[in-house]
C-alpha cells in the first residue's frame, strides 16, 4: 500500500496531506485552464479539465487535500464532504500513476484565496484522463536515460 493510500485509510490524517510533483520524470503544464501531464519515464500522459484542473492547480500549489476540497466545494457550491472524497480519490490516482508523491501534512489552517482560481462551468467529479498510445512505443524504444538534461559543453571550454 502506498503512503497516501495508507494515509487515507486513516480519516484523521488523510485530509491534511499535500502532494508534490515527481519532477524527475513528470512534466506538467497549465494551458488555458486545462492541464497536460506527461510521465516521460513510461510514455503515459494525462489531462485534467474543469474541476479536475482546478484541483490540480490547488494541489500543485501545495494545498492539502482538505484545503483543496474546501475551495472546490465553496466555488462550485457542492457538498464539502463528498468533494473531499473525490479529491482524495484523485490524489490516490495521481500517486498510483507515479505523477506525484506525498509530501507530508500541511500545518496551515488558512484556506487559499478563491480569487486565484477561475471556476468555469458546472462541477464535475475531478478526473484524470489517461492516454497510453505512447506507452506502447516506449516499451519497445525507451528514451535514453541521463542524456536528457545533460548540458552541452561549448567547444571553447574543452
Amino acid at each position: 500500500m502506498n503512503p497516501l493510500t495508507q494515509a487515507v485509510t486513516d480519516a484523521a490524517i488523510s485530509s491534511t496531506h499535500r502532494i508534490e510533483l515527481n519532477s524527475a520524470d513528470v512534466a506538467a503544464k497549465d494551458i488555458d485552464g486545462e492541464i497536460l501531464v506527461m510521465n516521460v519515464a513510461n510514455g503515459m500522459y494525462y489531462s485534467l479539465d474543469g474541476a479536475g484542473a482546478v484541483a490540480w492547480r490547488l494541489l500543485a500549489a501545495g494545498h492539502s487535500l482538505l484545503q483543496t476540497a474546501d475551495v472546490l466545494a465553496s466555488a462550485y457550491g457542492v457538498d464539502p464532504a463528498a468533494t473531499l472524497d473525490e479529491v482524495t480519490d484523485l490524489a490516490i490516482q495521481l500517486v498510483d500513476e507515479g505523477l506525484v508523491a506525498v509530501s507530508g501534512a500541511s500545518t496551515s489552517t488558512e484556506a487559499p484565496a478563491l480569487a486565484a482560481f477561475d471556476v468555469d462551468g458546472p462541477y464535475t467529479v475531478p478526473r484524470l484522463n489517461s492516454y497510453s498510445d505512447m506507452a506502447d512505443l516506449l516499451a519497445l524504444d525507451p528514451p535514453m536515460p541521463g542524456l536528457a538534461e545533460t548540458t552541452f559543453i561549448p567547444s571553447e571550454e574543452v
Partner: protein, 374 residues
C-alpha cells in the same frame, strides 16, 4: 511512427566503464577514419550542408555510402558559390566510411547479418560522448567538439530507417544542443509561410504533406520538423530530411506517381516504403519556413475536408507526447513542454478534418495560409 521505432537499449551515467568506453570508441573511430582518409583520398566525397541553418561538413569514404548519406539531405546542400557567404567554420563535421568499399576495418566494430538486432546507445558520464551501435553502423558523437565519426560495415545493407534518416539520433541531439527542438510533425509552406501538422502516427500528417506537395505547395517534412524561436515571438520550422515513409498500399492508391521511386522496407517492422523527395521535387523543398499556423489532421468518414478552430490545449496535447517522449534523446521534459506551449500559443490552431476527396486537402491548407496571412 513505425519508421521511428528503432529498437534501442540505453546505458549512461554513473558507470565509469561506460564513460571511458564511449570516449574510447570515439577516439578509435576518429583515428581510423583519419588513417583511411590519408590512404584513400581519391575515394573521399565531401559536401557542405545547412542543417537547421548551421553549416555542416560531411566527408565520406565510399561512393555508395556517400550516395546514401547525401540523398535524404540533398535539398540542404550548400552550393559551392554559397559557401563564401556562409560561416567559414562548420559547426559540425561528420566523417563516415564504408568498410566494404575501401577495406578499412575498425577495431571493435562488428557487422551483424541480423539487421533487426537491437541497437545500443551509450554515453560518457558527463554526456559529452555518445555512441550508437547498430547492425551495420557504429557511430560516435563528440558534442563538445562538434564531430560525428562513423563506421559502416556495408552501405548496401543499411536499413530503410538508416537510409531515410542518417545518424538520426545523433543529429537530433546536436539540434537540441543548439536550441532546435525536434517536433513530430509535418510542415508545408507557400512563399515562406508554413503550416505545421501535428498528430500521432496515422493521423494524416503524410497525406496532408504529400497532397500539398502534389498541388504545388512547398514541402519541408511529413514526420519531423526542427523548431526554433526566431527571437521575435515567432518560430521557424526547418526541414531535417527529404525522406517520406508511406504505407505501400496507401502510396499506390493516393500517390501512384511515387511508386516507381519507393524503397521498400526489408525488416519486419519496416512496414512503410521510403521515398526520397529531394530528387523528385527539387524546386519545392525549401530548408526553412516561418510557421504561421498549426493544423491537427484527423481522418473523418466523409467526402469533404473541413477546417475548424482548435484550442491551444488540443494542439499541445497532439504535439507534445510524441515529440517529447518518443524521439531518441528528446525526453526534454518540462523544458521541451515549455517550448512547445510557447510555440503553439504564438500561432492560430486548427483541426483539419480529412475527407476522402484528397484534392480538397491542399485547398484547405491554402485556406488556412490565406486566413493567417491576411
Amino acid at each position: 511512427m513505425a519508421q521511428t521505432t528503432v529498437r534501442r537499449s540505453a546505458s549512461t551515467g554513473g558507470d565509469p566503464l561506460f564513460s571511458e568506453r564511449a570516449a574510447q570508441v570515439f577516439g578509435r573511430l576518429r583515428y581510423t577514419f583519419e588513417t583511411g582518409l590519408e590512404s584513400n583520398a581519391s575515394a573521399a566525397f565531401e559536401g557542405t550542408y545547412s542543417l537547421a541553418g548551421r553549416l555542416v561538413r560531411i566527408r565520406v569514404l565510399g561512393s555508395e555510402l556517400a550516395r546514401c548519406v547525401h540523398r535524404p539531405i540533398a535539398h540542404l546542400a550548400v552550393a559551392a558559390g554559397d559557401e563564401g557567404r556562409a560561416p567559414t567554420q562548420p559547426e559540425l563535421t561528420i566523417d563516415l566510411w564504408d568498410e566494404s568499399a575501401i577495406g578499412l576495418a575498425c577495431a571493435g566494430c562488428v557487422a551483424h547479418d541480423d539487421l533487426t538486432i537491437q541497437s545500443q546507445v551509450t554515453a560518457s558520464h558527463e554526456g559529452r560522448f555518445v555512441v550508437e551501435e547498430r547492425a551495420q553502423l557504429v557511430s560516435a558523437f563528440d558534442r563538445a567538439a562538434g564531430r560525428i565519426v562513423g563506421w559502416v560495415g556495408d552501405a548496401r545493407r543499411l536499413t530503410r530507417y538508416e537510409l531515410g534518416r542518417p545518424l538520426h539520433s545523433h543529429l537530433l541531439l546536436w539540434h537540441r544542443d543548439r536550441g532546435v527542438q525536434a517536433v513530430h510533425s509535418g510542415l508545408v509552406a507557400k512563399d515562406g509561410h508554413g503550416v505545421l501538422f501535428g498528430g500521432p502516427g496515422g493521423s494524416g500528417k503524410s497525406t496532408v504533406s504529400l497532397t500539398s506537395l502534389g498541388a504545388g505547395l512547398d514541402y519541408l517534412a511529413d514526420d519531423y520538423v526542427g523548431l526554433e524561436s526566431d527571437g521575435e515571438g515567432g518560430f521557424r520550422g526547418y526541414s531535417l530530411y527529404s525522406s517520406t515513409a508511406v504505407d505501400p498500399t496507401h502510396m499506390r492508391r493516393c500517390f501512384p506517381h511515387l511508386v516507381e521511386h519507393e524503397i521498400p522496407g526489408v525488416l519486419p517492422h519496416e512496414d512503410k516504403s521510403l521515398v526520397l523527395l529531394a530528387e523528385l521535387f527539387p524546386a519545392q523543398l525549401p530548408p526553412v519556413a516561418q510557421i504561421r499556423a498549426v493544423a491537427l489532421p484527423r481522418v473523418v468518414d466523409r467526402e469533404r475536408t473541413i477546417v475548424r478552430p482548435a484550442t491551444t490545449f488540443d494542439a499541445v496535447l497532439r504535439l507534445a507526447p510524441s515529440s517529447l517522449m518518443a524521439l531518441p534523446h528528446s525526453n526534454s521534459g518540462a523544458s521541451g513542454l515549455d517550448v512547445l506551449t510557447e510555440f503553439v500559443s504564438a500561432v492560430p490552431t486548427f483541426w483539419l478534418e480529412l475527407g476522402r476527396d484528397l484534392r480538397q486537402i491542399p485547398m484547405a491548407v491554402e485556406s488556412i495560409l490565406a486566413e493567417v496571412s491576411a
